[in-house]
């Protein structure tokens, strides 16, 4: 009953729907949303709580004994190093991939040249390959040029896998930025490079942040390439570190939950503040409307 009132109230506040609606429908919508939300959030909450439980009470619903043992276990197993490796590889790869993608998307969006559709199509096609197909040829190539067990190799492969969809997303975003802005910048004396970085980049920042976030999360949780290209423990990334707690005979659930919680944190800390600040609307007011 009170839920229905809340729903009716928020609908009125939005001002978009002014006619009276059946309150039962509002309840149903709200309930569905809640169920979906619960399904999405439950595993995260469960993992977070579980990471502070002792092994004995891990799967007990009623008892809870608090411990930091799980965290001690993972950091003793070198998880700090894995965090560093992951951060190092992913951050550099995101910066490079974003830089390249911004320029490439600008060219695809603004320039007319021969074969543009074919080249753009092949960029999109690159996205459709299952990664597992790429692992073997990349492994052989990396082995030949000595990029196995190296940061450079990992960074390069992460840059390569994130560029196609970054370009795709950014081209879509650029289409919403009026071309007159580029032309105004040309009249104002900007070079191509200056147009991209002093005019287009700041205007597209919300889109770029969204794209970069997505790319980062993709790399952050990437397992296949890391497993194939990194065998030295000192170079391993977090997903590999996480996997090592799944033993042949036993699974250390406590450690896995602690490691999972730690894996989630940097992503949250890095991108949550950015996301809320840069939620679009920057291009408003440049042209009519």
């Amino acid at each position: 009953m009170s839920q229905a009132q809340v729903a009716a109230h928020s609908v009125a506040l939005d001002g978009e729907i002014t006619f009276r609606r059946n309150p039962l429908i509002d309840v149903a919508v709200l309930a569905t949303t809640f169920v979906v939300w619960a399904f999405l959030i439950f595993p995260a909450v469960w993992i977070f709580l579980g990471s502070f439980k002792t092994t004995e009470t891990m799967f007990a619903a009623t008892t809870f004994s608090f411990t930091l043992d799980n965290y001690q276990t993972i950091f003793r197993a070198g998880f700090g190093r894995f965090i560093f490796n992951s951060l190092f590889i992913c951050l550099i790869a995101v910066v490079i991939s974003t830089f390249v993608s911004v320029i490439a998307s600008y060219v695809f969006s603004r320039k007319r040249f021969r074969g543009k559709r074919i080249i753009f199509g092949s960029v999109i096609l690159g996205q459709l390959f299952p990664w597992i197909i790429l692992v073997t040829p990349l492994f052989i190539m990396f082995a030949r040029i000595g990029l196995l067990n190296s940061y450079v190799g990992m960074i390069l492969s992460y840059v390569a896998i994130s560029i196609p969809f970054s370009v795709y997303l950014l081209v879509g975003y650029l289409e919403t930025v009026p071309r007159e802005l580029d032309e105004a910048a040309v009249m104002d004396g900007c070079s191509q490079f200056q147009i991209v970085w002093t005019i287009i980049f700041p205007i597209m920042l919300p889109g770029i942040v969204a794209t970069a976030t997505y790319a980062f999360l993709l790399m952050w949780t990437e397992f296949l390439f890391a497993l194939a290209f990194l065998t030295k423990t000192s170079l391993k990334t977090m997903p590999l570190g996480l996997a090592q707690f799944f033993g042949e005979q036993t699974v250390d659930w406590g450690a896995i939950m602690a490691a999972s919680a730690v894996t989630t944190l940097p992503a949250l800390i890095l991108f949550l503040p950015l996301q809320t600040k840069l939620s679009g609307g920057l291009a408003a007011g440049s042209v009519k409307g």
Partner: protein
């Protein structure tokens, strides 16, 4: 001084020819309006001059300098875009000063020029705002200010008022005219609105399908249109164009018969005109008079709609074989729907065009026609 001249300017987009051999001489401080229907190549012409599009053929000179190979920013031109194109992430002051910053002008000089331009445009108190915090009219001013700050030799405007509401448009029109008087620069102004063209221009260029149909002062174009298209485009309400037939040709003019039993002897050069040849008779609504006629030629109009505008009234009616005729009369005229009224036609105020639209040349220039601004320097 910085006039501008276009010689044989041609622009093709692939197989589409957007501009064909445009020749145009613009003198220093002239206000030139390029007018024409949508898609006729107005923007393309402006963008070619600006340097945003490459020429396919021809030459462009600013003063005596060829500029058609010079980068856009170095041509000494400033452009005001139809959609304003303000940088959304920069303040008004930063928007206006950006070109100077790119040109590495000293900081205090930039500030001085921005403040000066803001004073002219009365936007001093908006300097720290972002474009999204401005109204349409204010954005338009900022866009103009951004051009003024650069102190260009030539201003280029692409339909700058088309996004404003009617009242604001009239205000800005006056302000632009004032601005043109107060600064030492040539202005080229693109519009599809013939009223803007007539009221603002020293010189009008009428474009159609990428060709310059006629170049001249507003009064030139109004009184001596080179063809039926220009005649129809300039003037409001539009010129009536009636099918007619030549009945006789003599040294004193051409006689024609038109719908409604109208017989006229027009003082135009006959040249190779033949009796029986189909022609088009052009009658401006404001050159027709309603009421009992003392001499001259008249025809009967069956009025079916009246549009009273206060100071004047527009009459729509049929003549003869159902041809439509529009007549503009003073506001007080007592004519109602369904009435039949006599309409007087003065032969000296008529226009005659061949079947392909070319105007017949008047035998003697009309002394009442003023020449405005056509040769001002």
């Amino acid at each position: 001084m910085a006039g501008l001249s276009l010689r044989g300017v041609t622009k093709q987009f692939g197989s589409v020819t957007a501009l064909t051999e445009i020749d145009l001489e613009i003198t220093h401080r002239e206000f030139v309006v390029i007018v024409g229907p949508s898609g006729c190549g107005k923007s393309t012409l402006l963008r070619v001059i600006a340097g945003l599009e490459q020429l396919s053929a021809g030459e462009i000179y600013v003063g005596d300098q060829p500029v058609h190979r010079v980068p856009a920013a170095k041509r000494g031109l400033a452009m005001v875009f139809q959609n304003y194109a303000l940088y959304p992430h920069k303040t008004v002051a930063q928007n206006m000063g950006f070109a100077l910053k790119m040109a590495k002008v000293r900081r205090d000089e930039i500030d001085r020029r921005v403040v000066e331009a803001a004073r002219i445009l009365q936007i001093e108190d908006l300097l720290e705002r972002k474009p999204r915090q401005l109204s349409g009219g204010q954005r338009q001013r900022v866009a103009i200010g951004r051009a003024i700050v650069r102190e260009p030799k030539v201003f280029l405007f692409d339909e700058p008022l088309s996004n404003l509401d009617a009242a604001l448009r009239v205000d800005m029109r006056v302000e632009l005219a004032k601005l043109h008087n107060s600064i030492d620069a040539t202005m080229i102004y693109v519009t599809h609105d013939q009223v803007e063209a007539m009221t603002m221009a020293d010189k009008i260029v009428v474009l159609r399908g990428g060709r310059a149909e006629q170049v001249g002062s507003p009064m030139d174009l109004y009184h001596r249109p080179a063809n039926a298209f220009v005649a129809g485009f300039i003037g409001s309400p539009r010129m009536n164009q009636l099918p007619a037939t030549i009945s006789a040709v003599s040294s004193s003019g051409v006689s024609i018969t038109a719908p409604g039993g109208l017989e006229l002897s027009l003082p135009v050069a006959g040249h190779d005109a033949r009796p029986g040849q189909p022609v088009t008779l052009g009658l401006r609504p404001e050159h027709l008079t309603v009421g009992p006629q003392s001499g001259g030629t008249s025809l009967d109009l069956d009025v079916y709609v009246t549009e009273p505008l206060g100071g004047e009234t527009i009459l729509y009616g049929h003549i003869g074989d159902n041809s439509t005729l529009v007549v503009k009369v003073p506001g007080g005229t007592d004519v109602g729907k369904g009435q039949r009224v006599p309409v007087g036609v003065v032969p000296a105020m008529c226009h005659l065009f061949t079947e392909d639209g070319t105007a017949f040349t008047p035998l003697h220039t009309n002394d009442k026609v003023e020449r405005i601004g056509a040769s001002s320097s």
